[in-house]
């Protein structure tokens, strides 16, 4: 079923549509769901405007925009992930905080003005949420980075290889829950790889 939104906007179709279920994986100890209708806005600071851009974003969204690599700040609706040395990825669901599609983009454009370029990647990323006590083990099958709770905690993020594909990993909570973002075109291969890695835990 395509996702519906406010009437005046066209219907967004998930790249995972053919395997659309409430949850792609729904085992007792691990779940994989799509984060649908995503806003993913990349904000790229111009030369020597990094700190100013961060302040502007912080102010506009009411969330401390991280200047430290590997950090993702968030509130209930919105995540700001350090993405590259000069850019962030601001992520929210379309309807988060009662926003309309495009509203987050406009908010950010207004906030940063000439400090940074604001590029909409909302349709270019597929978001998946992997959660449950086995989630860390599922991740260990797909990424080489250390996700041990001593090292990688809620509020941290990493751009890395996951299932041999470039992905942004954000730890949401210590259940643990991970948000994973990949290129739209790779969404099916990616979801399939993660799903496959969950099969071992079907009975426990």
């Amino acid at each position: 079923m395509p996702d519906t939104q406010a009437k005046e906007f066209p219907v967004r179709v998930s790249p995972l549509l053919p395997i659309d279920r409430d949850a792609i994986v729904d085992y007792k100890n691990v779940r994989l769901q799509e984060r649908k209708c995503l806003n993913a806005i990349q904000v790229l600071a111009y030369a020597n405007k990094h700190a100013e851009t961060a302040s502007a974003i912080s102010k506009a969204l009411g969330i401390e925009c991280p200047v430290t690599p590997g950090i993702c700040s968030s509130n209930e609706h919105t995540q700001i992930a350090w993405s590259t040395p000069n850019s962030w990825m601001v992520i929210a669901s379309d309807d988060a905080a009662g926003r309309n599609p495009g509203e987050l983009l406009e908010t950010l454009q207004r906030a940063v003005g000439e400090l940074a370029a604001v590029v909409d990647q909302s349709h270019g990323r597929c978001g998946l949420r992997l959660s449950g006590p086995r989630a860390r083990e599922v991740m260990a099958k797909n990424t080489a980075i250390d996700l041990h709770p001593r090292v990688f905690k809620p509020g941290q993020c990493a751009s890395t290889s996951v299932a041999h594909m470039s992905a942004l990993v954000i730890q949401v909570d210590d259940q643990p829950t991970y948000d994973l973002f990949v290129a739209r075109s790779l969404a099916r291969s990616f979801a399939h790889a993660i799903e496959h890695s969950c099969h071992e835990f079907q009975d426990d």
Partner: protein
């Protein structure tokens, strides 16, 4: 497998990076002679020992970094940002 420390993201596996060649060669100016331009593209030392080279953290933060690596032992002596103008900073928690 090499483990390369990205100045921003911390230590990551080699397969997150792509190799970008010798970082010790200086790109000539537009006024450079044909010989200088030839050397820039084609002339390399192929040294056994310390080698300064470019890698890109292509499956990570996409930054280009300068790595000093021993071509015999693979020991990595240093990794620094290639761009002097990108904001620096280390990952919140080291990924070693």
């Amino acid at each position: 497998m090499l483990r390369i420390e990205c100045p921003w993201c911390g230590v990551r596996n080699e397969d997150e990076f792509s190799y970008g060649g010798d970082a010790a060669v200086d790109r000539p100016s537009d006024e450079g002679s044909p010989d200088e331009w030839y050397d820039y593209v084609y002339t390399r030392n192929n040294s056994a020992g310390k080698h300064t080279e470019h890698w890109q953290h292509v499956n990570g933060c996409r930054a280009w970094v300068i790595v000093v690596r021993d071509t015999v032992t693979h020991k990595i002596y240093s990794t620094v940002p290639a761009s002097p103008n990108l904001p620096t900073g280390k990952a919140g928690v080291d990924q070693t």
